[in-house]
Symmetry: C2
Subunit: 225 residues, 2 copies
């Protein structure tokens, strides 16, 4: 997979940017260092001005790529889920046993991201951390319905639907496959957050992973054929 990943380009909804950041060095710089700076400062304290200083560029130049930092976050999130989707499809492809397939899918979705694909300007380990800490802020906004109409959440929705289908493939009688799927996706981010900041609110720790918790939860819940 490694070599394949190096040449992979994750497509992102064109409405999320003004100018495609993949189309120039400055654009790639913006992506690369916005990830690092958001991780460092938190999304709330992150500004285009600070990013400009960090990449020796100008605030106004960044505004030519992204309308505002909210759109940038949506861009990063879309990239992230596109990347997860790719890995999920890739690694479940060819597995015939629905149980093993679902297991693999949940594994990819809920696993901790541990190494980044060096070549690309996107550091997936840090991006994963941003998603855990900031993703909710991208949709917990008043404009969510309009943004949904603009398909900003399409990739994420497709991912949940894929998982839902795999759940139904294991137990077609289970009445809440989509809720279970969305619960695993969101809940996994939450368990990672708890593990880091509220260890007394989760059983996940250095030995028990969120993946184990959710695999266990899903297979206790479903009636296997």
């Amino acid at each position: 997979m490694d070599v394949l990943m190096q040449s992979l380009k994750i497509g992102v909804n064109e409405k999320l940017y003004i100018k495609d950041p993949e189309s120039s060095t400055l654009g790639k710089n913006i992506i690369e260092h916005s990830i690092l700076l958001i991780d460092e400062l938190g999304f709330d304290s992150f500004t285009f001005k600070k990013l400009g200083v960090k990449i020796n560029s100008n605030e106004s130049s960044i505004y030519r790529y992204f309308e505002n930092k909210h759109k940038l976050l949506l861009y990063l999130a879309t990239w992230y889920w596109g990347w997860v989707e790719y890995r999920m499809v890739f690694s479940t492809n060819g597995i015939d046993d629905p149980i093993k397939k679902l297991e693999k899918a949940v594994e990819v979705l809920t696993q901790n991201v541990e190494e980044d694909s060096t070549i690309s300007h996107v550091n997936e380990v840090v991006l994963n951390r941003i998603i855990i800490n900031e993703y909710s802020k991208s949709y917990l906004v008043k404009e969510v319905n309009q943004e949904d109409k603009d398909s900003f959440f399409m990739v994420c929705k497709r991912l949940v639907n894929r998982l839902s289908d795999m759940i139904s493939a294991v137990d077609e009688e289970y009445p809440y496959p989509i809720s279970l799927a969305s619960n695993v996706m969101e809940g996994s981010l939450h368990q990672y957050f708890l593990k880091e900041h509220f260890p007394t609110l989760t059983n996940c720790n250095s030995t028990i992973t969120p993946t184990e918790f959710f695999i266990d939860l899903i297979f206790r819940t479903l009636n296997k054929k």
Copy 2:
């Protein structure tokens, strides 16, 4: 319960305010109308200046009660979880059967808030909506560890622990009671959000409630004695 609720005062961590809003008319006004205004504008667009206009008071007067809007949100959240905790303890008290007890607890925790207790200046229906839409923003901040040390999340943590204990009372062998409890709490808010804004990502709708989904999930997961 109604009558009891009318005289109930939910205690909130003193570090969350500068002056206790329960101690004056202005304070109560701030609470009452901040709930309505945050609901109307969303937390991100809500400011003390706008609140001042709404209650015919001054920005600087509001700053005498709360350091900033983040602390106000923490105050409202603490109040909310305190209120849920009270109702949970009250309505599970005296139930001996662990299964029925857990069922009742999950019901209170995940149920839609439908009527408010008229007397108090807190509109619980609207507050519930705020918690669904904005609660994550209260802890997804860089300062979370310090704020946790200041016990800002104590009530919420106590609630999760209560639920966790009830889970273990039904199935003491289940290895992830705290994770399941925190998952239900957070997940319930999320399912309500999805129901409202991303109906294709949840099986919850006008006939199926998040409560049904979570009760079902929990009892499929646990081995009952």
